[in-house]
């Protein structure tokens, strides 16, 4: 187990524990409690994936499930930020992407290989939703300072994380040998994603009375 992986797991443990603690105290707004559930699932998933790698020499099925859950999380998170026809667009796109991911995992990619196509689809969905929400923020600004807006952090982090993931696709797909810098880039993008989620969960917390 590398030091990088330990730091990554430690970060997930801290974020999920703090998030679950706030959720139990009913302090976290409902769209952001979905993020807490997702981070907890990723934490458990990473541990199971490590154990599977040690035991069976492969762990790709876990990442397939995590990618489906990430689509679901984006769907629940963003659908609560929109109303009317925009909400319907979010729900339909999410459902379509989820179905595509399940079909690709089952019939094309296979559960024994890393879900690279799912990640590409997820990246397109994440970037699209972030831009769509930025547009809504511009159309309906609020008096809250931008840096105190949880959704600003989520959108920014999504643009960065999914941008990195999308441009790593040629390397992840195995067409090219993965350079070391891309491994580090993906690692830091993951750290940034969960830190950004943590910031958003923290900001969405209702202040203590």
């Amino acid at each position: 187990m590398t030091a990088r992986f330990v730091v990554y797991l430690g970060l997930l443990l801290v974020i999920s524990s703090a998030g679950l603690f706030w959720v139990r105290q009913h302090k976290v707004a409902s769209p952001f409690s979905v993020l807490v559930a997702f981070i907890t699932l990723v934490f458990l998933g990473e541990i199971i994936a490590k154990l599977m790698a040690l035991q069976y020499r492969y762990n790709a099925p876990i990442y397939h499930i995590i990618s489906w859950c990430h689509v679901g999380t984006l769907c629940l998170l963003y659908s609560k930020q929109f109303k009317g026809s925009r909400k319907k667009i979010i729900l339909s796109l999410s459902l379509f992407t989820l179905l595509c991911c399940i079909i690709i995992s089952t019939f094309w990619n296979g559960f024994t290989r890393f879900p690279i196509t799912n990640l590409a689809l997820l990246s397109i969905l994440g970037i699209g939703f972030a831009l769509f929400h930025f547009l809504q923020m511009l159309q309906h600004p609020t008096s809250t300072p931008l840096l105190s807006e949880p959704m600003f952090w989520i959108n920014t982090i999504h643009l960065i994380f999914f941008g990195v993931t999308f441009f790593s696709w040629p390397f992840l797909s195995g067409y090219f040998e993965m350079p070391k810098w891309d491994v580090y880039l993906l690692y830091f993008a993951n750290i940034l994603l969960y830190s950004g989620y943590f910031r958003a969960i923290y900001l969405s917390k209702t202040p203590a009375k």
Binding site: P141, S143, F167, F176
Partner: protein
Amino acid sequence: MTGTNTTFFLIVGTLTFSLLIVFIVYFVLLYRKMQMSMLLEQEKMRQALLKAEIEVREQTLMQVSQELHDNLGQLTSLISINLKMLDLSNCERDKARISEIQGLVSQLTHDIKNLSYSLNGERVNQFGWSPLIEREVERMNRSGLVSINYSLTPSLISKVSTDKALTLFRIIQELFNNTLRHSKATICTLHLDEKKQQLHLQYTDNGQGFDPRQVSSSSNGHYSIKKRCHDISATITIDSQPGNGILVDIYMPLTKL
């Protein structure tokens, strides 16, 4: 994988991320601009609402004033005339009592007229705000209950808009009322001068004072004064201690509403 491919991906990735950073910075700037314009719009709406609220309030007071003048004032005058017309030659016993009633009715008529006058905000437009305050000070001094020492910097007179002047006049009336009702003061001072583009109103009395912690912020007189100050974007500080009277400082901007 060849070195050319790595360089290609590195260049495309760097360019994309540079664009991404530019996009986020542009979004932040654009959002702040939209936010500012929204806040400005909200402020304009708030000012319009406040103006409408003040207008409605003044209209109500004017109606009350007219009612006092046209109805109650006339009725008391009629009672007074009727009392004077009474033949008291055969009624020596009630003469003194009726004379006392005549005095009271005359006082009542006078008070109603005064009240009607002070409630009518239109007078600010007719005569200007400083004569109205002077008249209010005279009314208080005439009551014999309290002596008011009043001063006004003359250059201020033209610098206060009619809307603000009316609210300022109501604040002064409320201060006088509070003094009469609660403070048991005998001497008050009211000074209006200009400080750093602001009107500075200082009001003191030598009354029994109060403990500010024990006076609820929603207590009627104080609430009314604070609300009116808020309406004209003025800041207010009220300082008082039991046995030490009261010191009120109000600062109202003169240049903008």
